[in-house]
Symmetry: C2
Subunit: 357 residues, 2 copies
């Protein structure tokens, strides 16, 4: 594999000193970029784009050609695992993801196949290797997966949900059954992330998009527990380097104290958490990633720079911070605003990393 030229991101995740705060954007390869929309149009639809390693590589690199980002993230869908398990993922225009065969009873859960990543998800693994070569060492490549709880939400609801009624009914009526599903998913996610690492992913992020809908107590046992299990079974050393793990529970700010004990290298924060408070709470036990409100990118250059400056000051001097949005970049954002954001992070963070800082 090509030698890494910019290791700011990997260093920051391990609490090592950097010259500037590294920055990337969740969903940085996405609909806000006209070149992404063009590639997607050529691919035909979203799933064809995901399932073709060359197209996936092309869109992964697009934001890097526009902005001096410090990391690339594999372009893929969060629901590749349930799709590979036979649930039949499809997308309805404006409706988000749907499954033809949602999981609704014990028999459905018991009959879920064990995932064979190398064959069932070969298109993802091929995409990782293709991207690593195409990156040619510019920046590290992040692999990712949805968390078991988040995957289970989509699988049981059959798609997106406002109230999560089906899975919460399962949680409170037949918790042992839900645990079986989550355990199967934890095994699948572990195999999936390890295959991504072996194929070239230099860090991985677990997206727990729906962890925040759980109650205090159930979050710990129905989401965090399984993410912890995954982390303890991941390949953490590859190509002679540590492979950092980032844990991101949207709406999980109240549970940071529990999350920091999961064995992760960094916690992703959404925009509701005070970054300074998060830093004192984790007290050097892991790095932090985040956490500007994505809507700030609807503001003008001065607003974006002011918010970046405010968050940098909140975090303060020293290492252990990867700048990001608190959630994915929205499709309506002007790409120029993303550029202003990335430049502001690099420019304004320099004083926080000087020898005197």
């Amino acid at each position: 594999m090509p030698t890494l030229k910019n290791d700011r991101f990997l260093r920051a995740l391990q609490g090592q000193s950097v010259d500037r705060t590294p920055v990337w954007l969740m969903r940085q390869a996405g609909r806000y970029l006209p070149e992404y929309r063009a590639t997607r149009a050529r691919a035909g639809d979203f799933l064809s784009l995901c399932k073709n390693p060359d197209f996936a590589c092309e869109v992964t690199l697009q934001p890097l050609d526009r902005f001096p980002l410090d990391a690339a993230i594999l372009f893929s869908d969060i629901l590749t695992i349930p799709d590979a398990m036979g649930l039949g993922l499809y997308f309805e225009e404006g409706e988000g993801p749907r499954f033809r065969k949602p999981v609704s009873c014990e028999a459905d859960i018991m009959s879920l196949p064990v995932l064979k990543v190398a064959t069932d998800l070969d298109y993802v693994i091929k995409a990782v290797t293709t991207i690593r070569h195409a990156l040619a060492g510019r920046v590290p490549l992040i692999g990712f997966s949805g968390s078991p709880w988040t995957l289970a939400c989509y699988m049981v609801q059959g798609g997106s949900s406002k109230d999560f009624r089906r899975i919460k009914t399962m949680l409170y009526q037949t918790p042992e059954l839900l645990h079986i599903l989550l355990d199967k998913l934890a095994d699948a996610v572990t195999a999936y992330l390890n295959a991504q690492i072996m194929a070239g992913a230099q860090a991985v992020q677990i997206f727990d998009t729906w962890g925040g809908v759980l109650a205090d107590g159930t979050y710990q046992s129905f989401s965090l527990h399984y993410m912890q299990k995954i982390i303890s079974n991941l390949v953490r050393e590859h190509e002679g380097r540590h492979v950092p793990v980032i844990l991101f529970t949207k709406g999980g700010g109240l549970w940071l104290e529990d999350m920091v004990q999961s064995g992760c290298d960094a916690l992703g924060l959404d925009w509701t958490m005070n970054l300074g408070r998060a830093r004192s709470l984790v007290a050097g036990r892991c790095a932090l990633q985040g956490n500007m409100d994505p809507s700030v990118l609807y503001g003008d250059a001065a607003t974006i720079r002011r918010e970046v400056a405010r968050l940098l000051a909140q975090y303060g001097s020293g290492a252990g911070h990867v700048f990001n949005l608190g959630h994915g970049i929205e499709q309506w954002v002007d790409p120029a605003s993303a550029g202003i954001f990335v430049d502001a992070v690099h420019e304004l963070s320099e004083p926080y990393h000087s020898a005197a800082a």
Copy 2:
């Protein structure tokens, strides 16, 4: 006004000793009750139900006839204020509330009329007095309003929203304009709640349903600031009694320390917050209300009782707790489960209030 026979709720809100933990349910007069659905069918539609004081009184009392609840809450809609300001509230089946004339520019905001509660919202004020008389002192009556931020969300978005793009764009592009809107709404909410108090509401709750979508820092200046302003201008003493104020920001668990300084008597908590941790955080400075996951009511009796017991133990002995769900009761809940919940709170809380406790 009739003498109050059950003052557990008002006492708990003021941190005074009680024999059992008082309990009520957000949205307790609602679609999960067949008698509610029957009254609504007679009224014709939801808005006709809200705007007729006799119907509003009828549905307000329905849950009290089923369950030994410790408080009644005025049946009304959260969007009466913008409707009275001329935005034209309507409901589309399965779509939630919508406005015919959303607020979208400076001219819209500048031309919003000053609310004359006595005439513009006379139906609400009449409902309060009607309900107070019909209650005949059984339990106290809670009045309520949406928070300025929450009302503004609906007014600017034109209805419910998933991403709050319009109002967040306004927030980051023209914050001073949004502040003008919020200030107008704070004045309206103050007048509205004071009129409810003068008409017979014995406590009031401010529902900040959408405060949790704000970023740390903006929550404080765009939502909490205006709720604080309202609280400082409310009538706090009426009929020889203190009129407690409950502040409920859904998703606001990270900001309790700020909220406790608002001058409220109690903080409402959603189900993501650990009740014991919240108690030590507020350290006696206000009471707490909450916070069982409404989805627990999909579980069986044993599950409901176990969750009630768990939360009572988390809070511990002594006063200052009003039991509730962490959000409104869902329409699909079996009314019998609500009954099990209310009985469990009364039965299982007794030891926590004994002289020895």
